[in-house]
């Protein structure tokens, strides 16, 4: 939000971006609980401000490229987002990261421009051009944005990188070295270690289990691999291009045709992901990071596919449990118990069941207390009907929060790209508030029982093994890894 913040502590926040029982942990002095109190004296407008998401105009080009145009005229800016319908999930088993390498290398030179020329052309107009293929996702995304007066140039640059990448061998050599260093660097971050292990235990043989490249895949990848991935998957008939900003439909479509109209279509390999493995029995995995002063806890299960009819039920359920600073996990673990700076839960969904995850970072000495509190919250939302008032507030929060999304053009565009890509009904966002409003305590409980599946809960803790292993054993057999990902016990 701010200018690049180099030094993370120049601004410190009240939040990162319940019930009660406790203690026993830090010595025996009983600290009085700091209870959440509701006085209900503040003036609240009971009316929920209903908004309709503005709808893009759509057109399919002759080469099969789906184009979405969403006009937003507040500022003289424009943003293009191209979703390629192939991503890290399509990485060959022995080459994790190929989709990412391909996307990253789009910026390293085209048949018309060297890497340095491309960088200069983008920066000269103050534009942004990025390509990424996030692990665990079925798409690669290229975004280009800047001031609307540069629209033609931005599109030309975007088209050049997507259609004509050169993948220069010398740049690939440099890229590999930078990435190898990044891999080393990532291993010093506790959150990365938690993600890595959690996705491994949850997805095992399924491609979503990889959250990063490996030194082996980086060393092995060749420019032929990049060219092949690009040639196979980057095709207009396998992509959606969205544009949002201060543009006119009638003027922008010809421009898009000019730069993407001659992109040749061709058959694309069928995506054959298979299905995720059957849920494994509940277990605890410890990543021993001896110098940790906190334990990073991640606990979770499979959630669901993006087009699953339970999506809205799980959205409401998760909101109540851990969706923000007014949710149960935060109020309990932080506001009452003071174990952490933040405790949240969330889920992701794609063409396969993404994960549902609860996570928190707590000082080493309250690892056990935090595990107890998390488990108690999981059980409560499964076993006890959500009070009508609490549910009503969650529904209200989600529906009223819609208004805020209108401020962010790229959020709006993403919402419609999601509809298009996951083949959701065209009136999906019109129906959404109504569907949220219809969620009952019974529906929440059913969703909690299905998705917060304690028999198959996978828990990963990154922390000081010597001090926390014993406590973790209470929650199931403990597997131990070191920070290099090597299994110790």
């Amino acid at each position: 939000m701010k200018r690049t913040v180099l030094f993370l502590m120049t601004a410190v926040f009240a939040l990162g971006t319940g019930s009660a029982i406790l203690l026993g942990q830090e010595g025996n002095k009983s600290i009085p609980l700091s209870k959440v109190v509701r006085l209900n004296r503040a003036p609240v407008n009971k009316e929920i401000l209903r908004v309709k998401l503005p709808r893009p105009r759509e057109i399919k080009l002759d080469n099969g490229l789906d184009v979405l145009v969403l006009e937003r005229h507040k500022l003289p800016t424009v943003a293009f987002m191209l979703w390629i319908k192939a991503g890290a999930l399509n990485d060959p088993r022995d080459l994790p990261g190929l989709a990412k390498f391909t996307a990253d290398m789009l910026r390293e030179g085209t048949t018309h421009r060297t890497s340095a020329q491309l960088a200069a052309d983008v920066d000269d107009i103050g534009a942004t051009l990025r390509a990424s293929a996030n692990f665990g996702r079925s798409v690669s995304v290229v975004t280009a944005s800047g001031l609307v007066e540069n629209t033609d140039r931005i599109l030309e640059l975007m088209s050049d990188t997507v259609l004509n990448p050169a993948f220069p061998a010398a740049e690939l050599v440099k890229y590999k070295k930078r990435q190898l260093a990044n891999l080393q660097q990532m291993r010093s971050q506790p959150d990365f270690l938690a993600y890595e292990r959690f996705y491994r235990v949850l997805y095992r043989e399924f491609p979503a289990s990889a959250v990063s490249a490996t030194p082996e895949s980086l060393n092995r990848v060749t420019r032929d691999d990049l060219e092949r991935f690009h040639h196979e998957y980057y095709a207009p008939n396998n992509a959606i291009l969205g544009v949002v900003g201060d543009v006119q439909y009638d003027a922008i479509v010809p421009l898009i045709k000019k730069y993407f109209g001659n992109w040749e279509s061709h058959p694309v390999p069928e995506s054959n992901l298979g299905s995720v493995p059957a849920p494994a029995t509940a277990k605890v995995v410890l990543v021993d990071r001896p110098d940790s002063v906190q334990t990073n806890i991640m606990a979770g299960d499979y959630a669901l596919r993006r087009n699953d009819p339970d999506f809205i039920a799980l959205t409401v359920t998760n909101h109540i449990l851990g969706g923000g600073p007014a949710a149960r996990l935060f109020l309990d673990l932080r506001e009452e118990k003071g174990y952490t700076y933040g405790a949240y839960s969330y889920f992701q969904s794609d063409v396969y069941p993404g994960p549902w995850i609860a996570s928190t970072q707590v000082r080493t000495s309250v690892t056990d207390g935090s595990m107890q509190a998390l488990m108690a919250e999981f059980r409560m939302i499964r076993d006890e009907a959500v009070p009508e008032k609490e549910l009503d507030e969650a529904r209200r929060a989600i529906i009223a929060g819609f208004a805020l999304s209108l401020e962010q053009p790229t959020t709006l565009l993403n919402a419609w790209l999601t509809v298009d890509y996951y083949k959701l009904p065209q009136d999906y966002w019109d129906q959404y508030p109504q569907k949220v409003a219809q969620v009952t305590p019974g529906v929440v409980r059913e969703a909690a029982r299905k998705y917060i599946d304690l028999d198959h809960l996978q828990v990963v803790c990154v922390g000081n093994g010597k001090q926390i292993k014993k406590a973790l054993e209470k929650y199931g057999p403990v597997e131990v890894y070191d920070t290099n990902g090597k299994r110790l016990e």
């Binding site: 410190v12 920066d123 103050g126 007014a326």
Partner: protein, 453 residues
Amino acid sequence: MRINHARALLLAVALVFAQALIAAELRVPHLAFTDQRLSNGLRVIIAPDHSAPVFAISITYNVGSRNERPGRTGFAHLFEHMMFQGSKNVGKGEHMILVENNGGAMNGTTSEDRTNYFEMLPKNQLDLALFLESDRMRSLAVNQANLDNQRNAVQEERRLGIDNRPYGKAFLEIDNLSYDNFAYKHSTIGSMADLNAATVADVSHFFRIYYAPNNAVLTLVGDLDPQEALAQVKKYFGDIPSQPAPPKVDLTEPEHYGERRETIEDPLARLPLLLMAYHIPPGNTPGNYALRVLGNILSTGESSRLYQHLVKEKQLATSVNVQADARIGPSLFYVMAMPRPDVKPEDLEKAIEDEITAVQKNGVTEREMDKARAQLRRQQIQARQTDLYTAIRLGEYAVYYDDPNLVNTIFDKYNAVTAAEVKEAANRYLISREQTVIIDLPAGTPVHMAAGH
């Protein structure tokens, strides 16, 4: 010689003139706002924006970690947490619950120079926001249990951001080593011992001194009517009594003599990190603007000098970042670079110094200046996307420089910087014999890697 010289000068003048003509067209959309003071001293700035049915409120208090005293580092931020712990008519945690459950979002942040509190909400919840902010400005209520609880939360925040992360200590140490004046020398997050020492009496004292209407700026941006909104603000805030002006903090930094250098052994790091800092003038001064433009030229975008030279061509670093700080007092120009695993940190340091020397000797090109202007203009326009960010900036500029209109004019100030001024600022402020250097090394790194010069 003489004639040539004159011709060159004429040519240069013509070029500058042409440039000025082009530059004059570079604009950022104008933001209209009202700016008033209530009788209790509360400054109220309102900017209507009807592009979405939402609004943002930000209250910026003119207090930050610069106002802390020795023995109570981290207190301004701990206090900020206490502002969510309840007031006369709002229960502990209820603030967050009320905002979130009505579709909003909120937070509070603390820096060296200011503390701000903000909410974004649908437009029909203006009363709610004003009620919440006025109640805590009027009647913060704290008790020991809530203080203990938030002390814990803040200590976890410190562990999360600093103590459990590679380079965390180095990020705090660079300021500690660079500054001699306590105001900016100590960290905003504070030490664990000082956080432990804070009492309920400290909280009450701090509240009385700094959390008065005359020490705050309230900004409202969004889908509202300025006159109606002002009337509402008066209704909620008008009767909060003002307080004597808080004591001013002397931010003067004594003259520095000589380079400061430290090597940190970091058990959590796997790769070394190099941090450098130079003393530069406060924000919103010509020198500071020139150095911020230079920061852009050095490290913003993949075509920037340090990225092209050090990451791509010489392959000495995996990343390089430059940030010219803009504080109300003496600021710092930071360079942060990660050497490639087979590169000695001191070789990277030497290469960075060479780049700075090159700027000092040869200056920067007009193309680089134009590029920086294009990037900064885009940044300034994009910064206007959300009501919240606009509200935050109006509040900060009012508190820092008594000039909320900087939101409209700051780009002109960047735009006015010339290549000659960039070169001059580099010569005047980026002085190697006065710099601070920290090398953070993974624990157990052989000593020859750590050797300085």
